[in-house]
């Protein structure tokens, strides 16, 4: 929970630009990181004792709760590396909120926190390699998303520019979705499995409210939010321009984190996943939604890497692609399990 404190301090740092505050923020982050590392290891040990499978086969990344925690861990590690490499704390205000949101999601939703025994398919040496590498890559992609979005905000000038419209809609949708989900959570105060939440509660206080008036107001508010972000996006731009970052630096971090994330994702996510599937199910590739979405993610980042070689594309256009790439990552990780499975569930609704 130190991360949430760190997030606030980073934002304060942004506002006041005081060196002491910045140092405190970094210290709090590191303390949180160390504490989480210990927590993960002890859970790992507990799991190993319980399952009797040996240490290497009992990595605690086997359900949504554990994997989200591990994602946060990778993200903070990646952020600390960026902070020390580029000697710049301003990114903290953008990256710790992602970690904070993930933690809030874990805490508020009814994700099961129990240590669950492994189903037979997960008993494999590939679990550790496949999952750790995928999440390291996801964290790298998350950083590129943050810096990519920042560079978009910094470099766009006109309100009718495609890239300006793109980032304002992205930020606007983000705000709208978070707000409506937050309202849902606080209204229903239920702790159920995320699949059930999505099915029964999500947007029931806003877009899917039984009363037509509330629905209408919700849509109206959502559109108003999008419009407001679009109209007053320049305020955000000025805020970022005040930071001691340049758009070149942002582009470099975006490229570098993708350059690290892409090979790791290819090897750990796609190739190890294929080998594991081959061993467990007898097919290295079966075009199931999870596999296909990882491939989609892979193609989006391949698009990013190749787009840089096209004249006039470097800069805004590839930054858009890096932002889309992380959306594909989120969908691969959460959307496939939570949304597509619901869509394919037979006979419900």
């Amino acid at each position: 929970m130190a991360y949430i404190v760190a997030m606030m301090i980073y934002i304060t740092y942004l506002a006041f630009k005081n060196k002491q505050i910045g140092l405190t923020a970094t210290t709090v982050t590191i303390v949180g990181f160390v504490a989480q590392t210990i927590a993960i290891i002890s859970r790992w040990k507990e799991f190993a004792d319980l399952s009797g499978l040996g240490f290497m086969r009992s990595a605690p990344f086997t359900n949504l709760y554990e994997s989200l925690l591990f994602f946060v861990w990778c993200l903070i590690l990646g952020y600390l590396i960026v902070e020390f490499k580029f000697r710049n704390r301003s990114f903290g205000a953008f990256i710790t909120p992602i970690a904070g949101l993930a933690l809030a999601f874990i805490d508020l939703s009814g994700v099961s926190k129990e240590i669950q025994p492994l189903v037979p398919a997960l008993k494999s040496n590939w679990l550790l390699a496949h999952v750790t590498m995928s999440f390291i890559a996801y964290a790298a992609f998350a950083i590129s998303f943050g810096t990519g979005l920042m560079s978009l905000i910094m470099t766009t000038e006109k309100r009718n520019e495609l890239s300006y419209i793109f980032w304002t809609i992205t930020v606007g949708l983000f705000v709208v979705l978070l707000a409506s989900m937050g309202i849902d959570l606080f209204t229903f105060k239920v702790k159920v499995r995320p699949e059930i939440f999505i099915h029964n509660y999500l947007f029931r206080t806003s877009f899917l409210h039984p009363a037509a008036a509330v629905r209408l107001i919700s849509w109206g508010l959502a559109i108003a939010t999008l419009f407001a972000v679009w109209r007053y996006g320049s305020v955000l731009k000025k805020a970022i321009a005040r930071l001691d970052v340049t758009s070149d630096m942002l582009e470099e971090i975006t490229y570098k984190s993708i350059a690290v994330g892409f090979p790791i994702f290819t090897l750990g996510g796609l190739i190890f996943g294929a080998i594991w599937a081959d061993q467990a199910w007898g097919v290295y590739w079966s075009w199931d939604p999870k596999e296909t979405w990882s491939l989609i993610t892979w193609f989006v980042y391949a698009f990013y890497l190749h787009g840089r070689f096209i004249r006039g594309w470097r800069g805004k256009n590839v930054a858009i692609v890096s932002v889309i790439g992380f959306m594909a990552v989120i969908f691969t990780y959460l959307g496939v399990n939570l949304l597509l499975s619901g869509l394919h569930a037979y006979g419900s609704q």
Binding site: L118, A259, Q279
Partner: protein, 482 residues
């Protein structure tokens, strides 16, 4: 003359086509196309019952438009899109793009890789990507050894030439790293070729094999019979559960392979650990009850007397048996695949899978009924009889089948080769760079000007840090001389 012009015109058409096929633009169009169509492919379940996808479409777009949309997507092949002609065509175009783009660029890159370095004049050197310079006291001859010492920190193997007023060192490394991109590109071809080989010469199927049964064929996914060329038998199958729960821990089948009537292989398989014989692999994938066999299984028991004498028994429902060294006989009256006691202490069957098989046995001695009760396979405490004898319930055999995935894929090794190539290629492409460096020492009024010029195709910042280290070592040496 006329023919010549004609040829020229033709050549330009070929040239344009070549340029299009070699372009990065085509590549990213293909990426976008595959990504976007694949999204549709994940929303619409592939090769599914039409009703399922009509339901999905009606949830997304409303009931009225769903059937029209369904027939629209169906006519475009989206219900089995990864096998559709247009998806295959895009993959072919993708391969052509990779090959042509490589042919287009490789000669130039190859020249860069192979090209030896030459000493560089000072004015050109100053215009290179990275530049450093430092002036050191002493003539070039005197400082030479110090400079080479400092250059060692940059880890290059330098070539040295004597020049008019000093020396020049130059070196390059990682020139082959320029080929990493092509390695990655060709690995995609390997993977596609491997996938094609698998589709052409392999098969995917399944086989539900009851305990004790022998089969010489599998069933393909299109319900055709595939001869295996050998026989495979399921000796026994078992599910292990976590503690007292009904959460499965492991499915295990004991299989035996016979070739021409002789036993050639025996292996127990679990999920993640298949059996392979003659290129055909059997994967543990599911299990179930053989229909109608539940009451016809064989109970494998060990009757153990008070005195410790054991008799191994194979019995059917209704059979009687004797506890060794005594007059006690048991009769198997009933069987349940999954028995538990409810809150009133009544025995109830709670599942029709073999979660906890149980036998109802009645014991008599000399015609008088002693006691009767359920023996539960997962509860050894139920095996103990009130009179001190024990009946161990080992297995209830012959009622379950093991569900095996059967696959033959001769292309899988080509795919793996492609995967390995891709990993190596990506590593080289992203983490290695072609670095070239020239260092010129020239005399200037009893001092030596050290001019460093360098280029790299990637990660300029890291190379600059290396060179900064060299310069700082040199300036420290300078202070030492003072």
């Amino acid at each position: 003359m006329n023919i010549d012009e004609e040829q020229k015109k033709k050549k330009t058409v070929v040239d344009t086509l070549w340029d299009i096929l070699a372009s990065v633009k085509l590549a990213i169009i293909i990426f976008a196309f595959i990504a976007l169509t694949s999204i549709i492919g994940t929303v619409l379940e592939q090769r599914a019952d039409p009703a399922k996808n009509i339901l999905v479409l009606s949830r997304l777009f409303g009931e009225s438009s769903a059937p029209t949309l369904y027939s629209f997507f169906d006519s475009l092949g989206f219900m089995d899109m990864y096998r559709s002609w247009w998806f295959k065509a895009v993959l072919v175009l993708f391969s052509v793009n990779i090959v042509i783009c490589s042919f287009d660029r490789l000669p130039r890159i190859w020249k860069l890789v192979k090209e030896p370095l030459h000493p560089m004049p000072a004015d050109k050197l100053g215009k290179l990507l990275i530049n450093r310079q430092i002036v050191i006291k002493g003539k070039p001859d005197a400082v030479r050894s110090g400079v080479t010492e400092a250059l060692k920190t940059a880890r290059f193997r330098f070539t040295e030439v004597q020049e008019e007023r000093g020396y020049q060192f130059y070196a390059q490394k990682g020139n082959y790293s320029r080929l990493g991109v092509y390695l990655t590109h060709f690995s995609i071809l390997f993977i596609l070729i491997g996938a094609m080989l698998g589709m052409q010469f392999g098969f995917k199927g399944y086989l539900n094999l009851p305990e004790g049964a022998l089969s010489n064929s599998a069933v393909s996914n299109t319900d055709k019979e595939i001869p295996l060329g050998f026989d495979i038998r399921c000796d026994t199958f078992d599910v292990e559960f976590y503690g007292g729960s009904d959460m499965p821990k492991e499915y295990k089948s004991w299989l035996t392979v016979f070739k021409d009537g002789r036993e050639v292989m025996r292996k127990s398989i679990v999920v993640n650990d298949p059996l392979t014989y003659e290129g055909i692999t059997f994967y543990q994938s599911s299990y179930g009850m053989v229909p109608g066999a539940a009451q016809r299984g064989i109970a494998v028991l060990n009757a153990v007397s008070r005195t410790g004498k054991t008799a191994a028994l194979n019995l059917r429902l209704g059979d009687t048996f004797q506890i060794p060294d005594s007059a006690v006989t048991g009769k198997i009256l009933d069987f349940s695949p999954a028995l538990k006691l409810d809150e009133h202490g009544h025995a109830v069957t709670y599942a029709n899978m073999m979660n906890n098989p149980a036998l109802l046995v009645e014991f008599t001695e000399g015609g008088t009924r002693l006691f009767s009760g359920w023996l539960l396979r997962r509860n050894p405490e139920t095996w103990q009889l009130p009179n001190g004898d024990r009946v161990e319930f080992v297995d209830y055999w012959g009622v379950e089948y093991t569900g095996l995935q059967v696959r033959k894929d001769p292309g899988v090794w080509v795919v793996y080769l492609g995967c390995i190539t891709m990993s190596i290629g990506l590593f080289i492409a992203f983490f290695m760079s072609h670095r070239r460096i020239w260092v010129k020492l020239s005399e200037e009024n009893n001092t030596t000007r050290v001019l460093i010029g360098a280029t790299t195709n990637k990660n300029k910042a890291a190379f600059e840090r290396t060179l900064d280290r060299v310069v700082s070592v040199l300036s420290k040496k300078q202070e030492g001389v003072k």
